[in-house]
């Protein structure tokens, strides 16, 4: 857990995963902060409010986003979104750019699974609530949402797994500066260029000498990433399992 990742230096190379891990987490935080409200919100809207006609195009529309290859989304970030972000930040490519795009990529995951969870809430619960005189929003917020919360949390966890494992978008758009974000700069911390665990593997694996310490360090980063992904998967399965058991 060293603090520096320095390669090709004249004196001594350092392989510390901390700057990469913090970069990955910062980008994921931004992405999830955006994707959770949008993903869950649209799931609630489609499941509870939307008319049948709206449903026919919203659902395939959002699911279609997940069919867009990630390298194209990254390219869009470089070509278009970077320019927009530079209006509010110093650089074109930083964790904010990557975060926005990752949020867009994660919304379908969260949306689909959360919508499933909402759909699985027994109809009787809703009917009972409405017949007691609650408005539809009250029913949503106090009856249906709490009943589906485990499913939604597992959806969010899977979304997190997708964000932290995403490579091309962060490689293209996160700015690739290997440093621990400067947390003293207030809100500016979200607009700093960072490097991520996935990005470093993709960037340096092709050029590294076989069997060197650098090579092993990259594999170690890969293993750490693998363990994170497994943990997230395991958690989401456990939670989803408990949800299934409750009905």
């Amino acid at each position: 857990m060293g603090k520096d990742w320095v390669t090709n230096s004249a004196r001594h190379d350092w392989y510390g995963v901390l700057p990469l891990l913090s970069g990955s987490l910062l980008v994921s935080l931004i992405a999830l902060a955006l994707a959770i409200p949008f993903g869950v919100g649209s799931a609630i809207y489609v499941n509870q409010v939307a008319t049948a006609r709206e449903q026919t195009f919203i659902k395939p529309g959002i699911e279609f986003i997940s069919a867009i290859p990630s390298v194209l989304i990254g390219f869009f970030g470089i070509a278009v979104l970077g320019g927009m972000v530079s209006l509010i930040a110093d650089e074109r490519l930083n964790s904010l750019t990557a975060g926005f795009l990752l949020a867009l990529m994660t919304v379908p995951t969260i949306f689909t699974l959360a919508e499933d969870a909402l759909n699985n809430v027994p109809r009787a619960l809703r009917d009972a609530s409405l017949s007691l005189g609650a408005t539809r929003w009250q029913t949503c917020a106090r009856v249906i949402f709490p009943s589906a919360i485990t499913g939604i949390i597992s959806a969010i966890l899977l979304g997190f797994g997708r964000v932290i494992g995403e490579t091309m978008v962060v490689l293209l758009c996160a700015g690739n500066r290997i440093a621990i974000p400067d947390f003293t700069s207030g809100l500016g911390v979200f607009a700093q260029p960072v490097h991520t665990m996935t990005g470093i593997i993709a960037q340096e694996m092709g050029e590294v000498e076989f069997g060197s310490i650098h090579y092993r360090a990259l594999f170690m980063v890969g293993i750490a990433l693998f363990l994170i992904a497994l943990l997230v998967n395991f958690l989401s399965q456990t939670i989803a399992g408990r949800y299934k058991a409750s009905y």
Binding site: Q48, G161, L171, G206, F226
Partner: protein
């Protein structure tokens, strides 16, 4: 679903309660969020489609075929501002050729042309005979004599330095023990110079120096003599190399000359002139200046007007990659997808047969299921890392199609297994039972009454997973993809198995390369958007095709 109830409006409508207002507000917000997400996706889509279409449909025909069928090209920009002309490499060189032929034709029309041409022919005839002549044998002897004379001069100078250590030290104003290292430095420097002078022999001189290096370092009088002897021997072998080169280059001169003689075109002339230059550089080192050089000067004079006629200046600013051309990348992507699909379906179907037909539920099976489930959540870059470690390095397949196929196949395997198992389970139990009742073994039963009916479902569901493989970049980055490769996959194969062990270009990796690895300028955007457009069409095309296929087959196979 509940649709909003419209309440009749009349003057006595009661005020909406706070809860109602809250509800309207929140639902409006949710609706806004949903449509915002859709809007973002639509904007991304529209941006790539609209700007990419500009590149793909530009030019004279409906479709810019050149962009789709060429290799990645350099963009040549001629002129500036309003009159700027953008040309891809192939067009640029075509234009240059056109201009060259034009100039050449004008030159051919002049009186000067015939005159100069006759002179050129006569002068070059002599050169042509030279290399086939017996005079070369003579030249060999002279070469050895000349070189050995030079060497003995050098060595006698060094020997003198080494024998009279005292006087050398005082002459050079150094200490006595520094004399020998100095002389060995002289020698090393001499060999370095010889390497430059005797172009064709430079490798051999290097080898010679390396062989003699221990002796040069521990320089004594005896060693010096031995080195001289060895060097003389070495020089005695040298003319053979020159002789061979003279014949080779001379032959080239004759061939290109005859070509030029019969066609009289600028390109033929260019090749002829090139062959002459190569020949002359060898000739200069081998033959001394006094040997019939007069022809050579004549030749040079005759050549110049032709060269002038050939030279076409078309000044341009060049931008690598910006000219477009993505054919190898399209081919590579298709190859990767097809291969990965084949491997993953074979593996996946066998795995699913085991899970659905043979596996007895228990600890082992639930562990297998858990593993498959977890495999689906592993980031794609980890698959790339795994493929790199296992296929590229451990199995020593290098960066190759095969390594990319297996890496991608492993990545989509969870999808294929799940889909296949679902398809197998949807076959009615009666099919199996009736087959078994007729006395078939279990494998025969699976082969004849389960697989044929499940296959359409397996295939179509799996293709959907493979569509995902087409869009992935991370797994192929260091297992299969090259940034640039001049040959197509079926070109330049020595043996048919080489086909599997070659890297290819791939669209997603190409997009990464052109958008992050090459210098960006005002001309790159067009080509990037064009590539992105084609890639998007390809991926969306595969995905929607497989969805359509699935829907159709689902209707067809129902029981």
């Amino acid at each position: 679903m509940m649709s909003a109830q419209k309440e009749p409006k009349h003057p006595f409508t009661p005020r909406l309660s706070r809860e109602r207002i809250q509800e309207t507000f929140v639902f409006g917000l949710l609706r806004g969020m949903t449509f915002f997400v859709l809007f973002c996706a639509a904007f991304l889509f529209w941006d790539i489609l609209s700007k990419g279409a500009g590149k793909v449909f530009e030019g004279e025909g409906l479709i810019n075929w050149e962009f789709l069928t060429e290799h990645p090209q350099t963009l040549h920009v001629i002129g500036e501002g309003e009159d700027e002309i953008k040309l891809s490499s192939s067009n640029y060189y075509r234009l240059k050729d056109e201009k060259m032929y034009e100039k050449w034709n004008t030159f051919q029309g002049t009186f000067d042309y015939n005159n100069k041409r006759n002179q050129l022919f006569e002068a070059s005839k002599a050169i042509q005979n030279e290399w086939a002549d017996q005079s070369l044998v003579l030249a060999e002897a002279r070469f050895i004599e000349r070189e050995q004379r030079k060497v003995s001069d050098k060595f006698s100078f060094w020997t003198e330095l080494v024998t009279n250590l005292e006087s050398t030290a005082s002459d050079f104003e150094i200490k006595r023990e520094e004399v020998l290292p100095m002389v060995s430095q002289f020698m090393l420097g001499h060999f370095e110079k010889e390497r430059g002078r005797l172009q064709l022999l430079s490798d051999q001189v290097t080898l010679f120096r390396a062989q003699q290096y221990p002796k040069i370092e521990n320089l004594t009088k005896e060693n010096l003599k031995q080195i001289q002897l060895a060097y003389n021997q070495f020089l005695a072998q040298a003319p053979q190399t020159y002789n061979l080169a003279m014949r080779e280059f001379g032959e080239e001169v004759t061939i290109t000359f005859n070509d030029f003689y019969s066609k009289e075109g600028p390109k033929e002339f260019g090749r002829f002139a090139e062959a002459l230059v190569a020949y002359s550089s060898v000739r200069q080192a081998f033959l001394e200046e006094d040997q019939n050089m007069s022809n050579w000067d004549d030749l040079q004079q005759c050549l110049s007007p032709f060269k002038e006629a050939m030279a076409v200046a078309l000044p341009s600013r060049d931008f690598a990659y910006s000219g477009g051309g993505i054919f190898p990348a399209i081919v590579g992507t298709l190859l990767l997808v097809v291969g990965a699909m084949a491997i993953s379906i074979v593996l996946g179907v066998f795995c699913a047969i085991f899970l659905a037909e043979y596996g007895k539920s228990g600890k082992f099976l639930s562990m297998v299921r858990l593993a498959i489930l977890n495999l689906a959540g592993v980031p794609s870059i980890i698959f790339g890392l795994f493929g790199f470690g296992l296929f590229v390095i451990f199995l020593d397949w290098n960066v190759s199609l095969l390594a990319g196929w297996f890496t991608l196949a492993f990545m989509v395997l969870p999808i294929v297994i799940t889909a296949s198992e679902e398809a197998l389970r949807s076959i009615p139990q009666g099919f199996r039972e009736s087959s078994l009742a007729l006395g078939a073994t279990k494998w025969t039963m699976i082969k004849t009454s389960v697989l044929p009916f499940a296959m359409p479902g397996i295939l179509t569901s799996s293709i959907l997973g493979v569509a995902r493989a087409a869009g992935e970049t991370a797994p192929i980055m260091f297992t299969a993809a090259y940034a640039k490769r001049s040959e197509l996959p079926w070109e330049g194969l020595e043996h048919w198995t080489d086909f599997f062990f070659q890297g290819v270009m791939a669209l997603p990796y190409h997009i990464y390369v052109v958008s992050a690895k090459i210098p960006q300028n005002e001309y790159t955007a067009d080509m990037q958007y064009g590539t992105a457009f084609i890639f998007l069409l390809l991926v969306v095309g595969i995905a929607s095709l497989s969805i359509m296929l699935r829907n159709r087959l689902r209707k067809k196979y129902r029981w």
